[in-house]
Symmetry: D2
């Protein structure tokens, strides 16, 4: 009998099969091929509203069955986990119901479109966790090896206390005035624009890497092109010809400053208008003893400056994060053979399966997702109120002890789930 058969199954139902559904499928498929897992993910059911299209997607993506109503899978005994890849406006309803039905939940980011939804989801997750049912939100970039390494190095004190954070998430897919409207430019469907879509990632990474929360913000949101062509269908950026136009109701650019719970100032920008930047998710953390920098356009590299070095030979090191000792990497290829975007989804599946088998809370939890939502909400409120500084009281810790007069006393605990093998 094969080893796979010897492992208990983890039977998954996935709701939605667009971009994120394809990425999650690749994650479930790859996890047991490269990592030694305590249970075997089974791609059991794909849920889509149209049976025909769901069937075709299931064939392509490798799911055994299809359903057309997500409520049906909650009633089935042979489903252990619901993986939610639908638009954000549906997350709260499905996730809450699934948890209530005793199904573990993985929900793609953004966790919700509103703060109220996110709070309800976090509360539901707390209730479910008490009974051993777990919820996780899919901030997959945490599983890029270079980012996991950054977090480990901060936790180990390699750059000392966190002094400053600067983040950018630069894309250019709306920089063309002729790019048509889509659900992503519609506030009713998307909740917000660059802020929630990509700004959410850099807020979560700041939380993840530093082990701290954003404690308050001053923000501004801009919509640079107020009207766009109405596309018959949103199919790429080629719809220059159309004559009908409609309003863009979300932000094109989000900018905010603030500080972390440990006092470090932080600056953030998310934009869809930076011509030439395809997916430049960048984060730099300056500590009291060094710096770390990452850019997703060079995703297998982490830059480290160690201030303890002799000034004569110090400099940012370009760490190629493909060594066996690097997070997740040892399970893949020999040194020097880089990973791609989708590998984060495999690592997400691995970490989730392992946490569930161990009866532990997977991360990022719904509480982590709620923390991001609180920051986005504060940015929106600040932007609507002349950028006035807006506290996030829920993120303020109890008064810190001692006083060194210097920023950065709060240091994260060592990372737990980022090793491969």
């Amino acid at each position: 009998m094969s080893q796979a058969a010897a492992r208990p199954p983890l039977r998954v139902a996935m709701v939605g099969y667009a971009f994120m559904g394809r990425a999650h499928s690749q994650g479930w498929r790859g996890a047991p091929r490269f990592f030694d897992l305590p249970s075997e993910p089974v791609m059991q059911v794909l849920v889509g509203r149209s049976a025909d299209r769901a069937r075709a997607a299931a064939d392509t993506l490798g799911w055994a069955e299809v359903e057309t109503d997500w409520r049906r899978v909650l009633e089935r005994d042979d489903i252990d986990l619901v993986d939610i890849c639908t638009p954000g406006s549906t997350h709260a309803e499905i996730a809450t119901a699934a948890l209530a039905a005793g199904k573990h939940v993985l929900v793609e980011k953004p966790m919700a479109n509103t703060l109220a939804e996110a709070e309800a989801m976090a509360a539901a997750a707390d209730r479910a966790a008490a009974g051993g049912t777990m919820a996780m939100v899919g901030f997959t970039y945490r599983r890029v090896p270079a980012i996991a390494l950054a977090r480990d190095l901060v936790a180990e004190g390699r750059i000392g206390k966190v002094r400053q954070v600067r983040c950018q998430y630069l894309q250019d897919w709306l920089a063309d005035d002729g790019a048509p409207l889509s659900w992503r430019t519609d506030k009713a469907k998307a909740g917000s624009g660059a802020l929630g879509d990509i700004g959410a990632h850099i807020v979560d990474l700041t939380h993840f890497i530093t082990g701290q929360r954003v404690a308050g913000v001053s923000g501004r949101l801009d919509t640079l092109v107020a009207e766009r062509p109405v596309a018959e269908s949103f199919s790429g950026l080629s719809g220059r010809g159309g004559s009908e136009r409609g309003p863009v109701t979300v932000d094109d650019v989000a900018m905010f400053t603030g500080e972390l719970t440990g006092g470090a100032p932080a600056i953030f920008e998310a934009t869809r208008f930076a011509w030439g930047r395809k997916n430049a998710m960048r984060i730099e953390v300056n500590g009291s003893e060094g710096s770390l920098a990452f850019d997703f356009e060079d995703m297998n590299v982490l830059s480290l400056y160690d201030a303890r070095e002799d000034a004569r030979t110090g400099g940012f090191r370009r760490i190629i994060v493909t060594e066996p000792d690097h997070p997740y990497v040892g399970s893949w290829w020999p040194a020097g053979h880089g990973l791609g975007y989708e590998h984060g989804f495999v690592h997400q599946a691995v970490d989730l399966v392992r946490a569930l088998s161990a009866g532990e809370q997977p991360t990022p939890s719904f509480a982590d997702g709620l923390a991001v939502q609180r920051v986005l909400d504060a940015v929106e409120r600040s932007a609507g109120n002349r950028s006035v500084y807006t506290e996030i009281p829920a993120h303020r810790p109890a008064p810190a002890t001692g006083s060194t007069g210097a920023v950065g006393d709060e240091v994260p605990a060592p990372a737990g789930q980022s090793r491969g093998a």
Copy 2:
């Protein structure tokens, strides 16, 4: 009935399951998930000498059955293709037998350990092709999107005539004197060292991108550390402690100069001693109207200099090769989401399946593999004869017509198989 079931199957038997076997498995598995294929690859049989270990590998990698003798699969009617991932010294025998048995063959590079073997294999492939049985060699780097784009741009004349080529393949895994002996340092098993292992790749890429052959070489081979520790088992590079030492019988560094069939001078270096270079496979082609440059350490990028630009704003462009129009990329993720090392193996499977379904010769053919082998052989002969320039007569074309007095008249035909779907 599912689409997959509606497609005719292509039943594969894979021989060997180490590094390359894992990569090929990932290729077969991923191809039908992301590309629209005319037939459905079926991972039918894994062949390994130990039944137990083969069974465990088959479970992990996703193969249905196992065999312990590769000759058995040649006798089976339900196998269409034999995928050979064993050490190079076994390639000739297995490939020749498989072709004779009417099985299509994919053989991992290096095609063979000697020129004589390669010649025999190419002859066998010619005979088989006459009957519709096809052979292909796995120079997978041809399927990195940035490299396929480079080849297309050369073929389109974007950089004019090819004037010069410079290649490096820099690694550092033997730079540590304490790294132990392995089959890769043993001439009997590996054939050669850096020359055949990684030098072969840059020779093939030169052939592929320029559409020309290396016509002659002057070479040198060096073994920088003549003795190394004997490892009880070769398990990483940590065996500094051992006291027994043995000889390294292959080259650590290979350097050669030469020219292409169109007259362009070319320079090559392959080394395992470049501390800090993890997998720096680099190729730069200078043409009469521009230049192209690639480095595998930044594998989603191709650099292009277009000499037709205004000198005031000209400069190497950093093309992020993740746009839908780029080779293979449109089948994966939205723009800006990079691929990794293993995606080349998916593309290899895709191109092979398509060629077989169309009854066409897949590339690189055994003739292409033989061409690389001829260059490696000439380098070895030159290195053994005081670096004297050594012609490769088989690569010399019939006399070119006309005479412009300038290097680079030979331009490759447009690429055929590098688009996704």
Copy 3:
């Protein structure tokens, strides 16, 4: 008779001889050696409070005479221009008096320590200009060839309308907690910290490159290390040993967001705490048709993304700004031979001499200096008022005509003074 002698002299008195005095001296000395000037700068008098030290500096730097009171040089008939390189707190008094005495003035940045001083200086410059006496402020980075090229390309419409600006000025010389107090950490002497010292540069460059002004800001200022050692003398960053400590009274980090007069949002950060960043003055401008990016750590390079390119071969171009057609460069060395930090001071001298000879207003004018000061002042007021958005009414143009619904209608006029000879 020599050509130099045939040119009318421009006799200069320089006040101050520290870092900036050395740089200005190099500028005056080099200008006539590489550029064809209409008049000949004469390094006539160096002014310093201590006669001995001024004499030693004059010998080293190449000035003919010394004075110990700047008022003396205003009385001399043989001085045409006063070059002010003293600390910012003295600029207003000296510059105003020199202009009143009919001397042209070059004042190093920051133009003044307070907005009131800057306003008085700008008014004095207006009065003087009516009589043909000119004033200029030394934002020398405008004369880095790559930056002058950026400005020209924006003015020519190469990147279309300005849509967004992002700026960083990252240094690390205070990142060490043990770095001692200096005049730069003392608000009474320096006016502000990172904001005025380096933030001023990125504000001026934004004005220069875009041809627009910052129209309003939301800012925050942080002092990360509140107390530092008292150094007996400020001599490098080695004073870890001292036990006496005193307060830092300026900002270590300045962050602000805002928008330009044409509506484009902009984001700025200036810090002295970014370990590993030595002089990373960065500016990126995203337009409707492309992007430009610059980093002073790679000062001979400008990056350009042209959105009109085919998506398949588009990418940021690394323009090496050392071609004869590039601003200022033709007067120096053959293509490919980069310039350094100090060359901006030569170019400044060249542009100033030419403007004076032509009877034209040199740029940046005191009005330009005042514009920067207004932005810094608004940042400080916003930072003191919970980051609330703070308008800069003086920068608001009359209502723009028409309405395209898109940001970026305001385009700068073509550059005037940036070519070499």
Copy 4:
């Protein structure tokens, strides 16, 4: 009395005033302004064949007098040093005569056009040195701070034993077929093409940085465009229109492999056909404990890989060579303010003045220049003889003692003259 006046003068006569004459003038002018020198260089006489043009050049460049015959300055008592910036074919005669006349000599590279001339010059220098008259050759790139740092780090053992060297010098100014003939494409005047013009630099840097000599080579030389337009005057690359054409009699591309006296293999390429590479002089040294890499297109940076680092955080460090502790840098600007091409000429003047005042042999000596010439000569002979390996017996040391079986036993002595202040 001024300090300058208190220092003894070093009175210089410079022969030639084209590109190199301008660069040397900038060196002599700048040296005493930034460095504390034991004697004061005096720019006394400029020698040129045309009195009018020499006078104009002297005015622009800052020389006091002119002469039209270099022999005249050898007769003058008030000249201490002759600085030779004429074409290479004249170097031997002028240098030999100047040394015989008791004048110190600085001669621009290439030291000579032939090996015989170089040998005669080295012999003359030996004779002169015995009497205290010194000769130096102007391989100025040795004085780029990043390169001087590289040499110091090798000498200190930071990268262990030298295992491999790879060098490229890539330019593109002849890549355009329409670029006209010039003295640089004429063997009679230039001696060779890319080999002697830029290949000489990478050979000298290899000698300098490793402390070893090239011991033998296998080379090839190619002329890619055999005929070019005859320009009425060689004035840039714009002469596409001309119809008359003439032959190119020098190499466009030089490629050679070889090994150092310590046994390390080395690979070299010099080309004028690499479109987009403006002045990419690159050298990488791999040692037993790390690597160093430099590219002149990023001249203020040295990359260092330290193999002693933890593999998890190791990576090439981008050392920004602008710190006070770096060679020469402390005399210029604060940290982070980069230098340019011409600063090497200032450093050359500084090191030469100091060596002469101390009565020491300045470096690179004529013996060092001869060593480069021997390598170039061997490359030409090898290229003319089917690339056969060609020993350079003069560079072979006496048999090394001991035997470790590993390449790289020879380590350079610590550097002497590379510090500023």
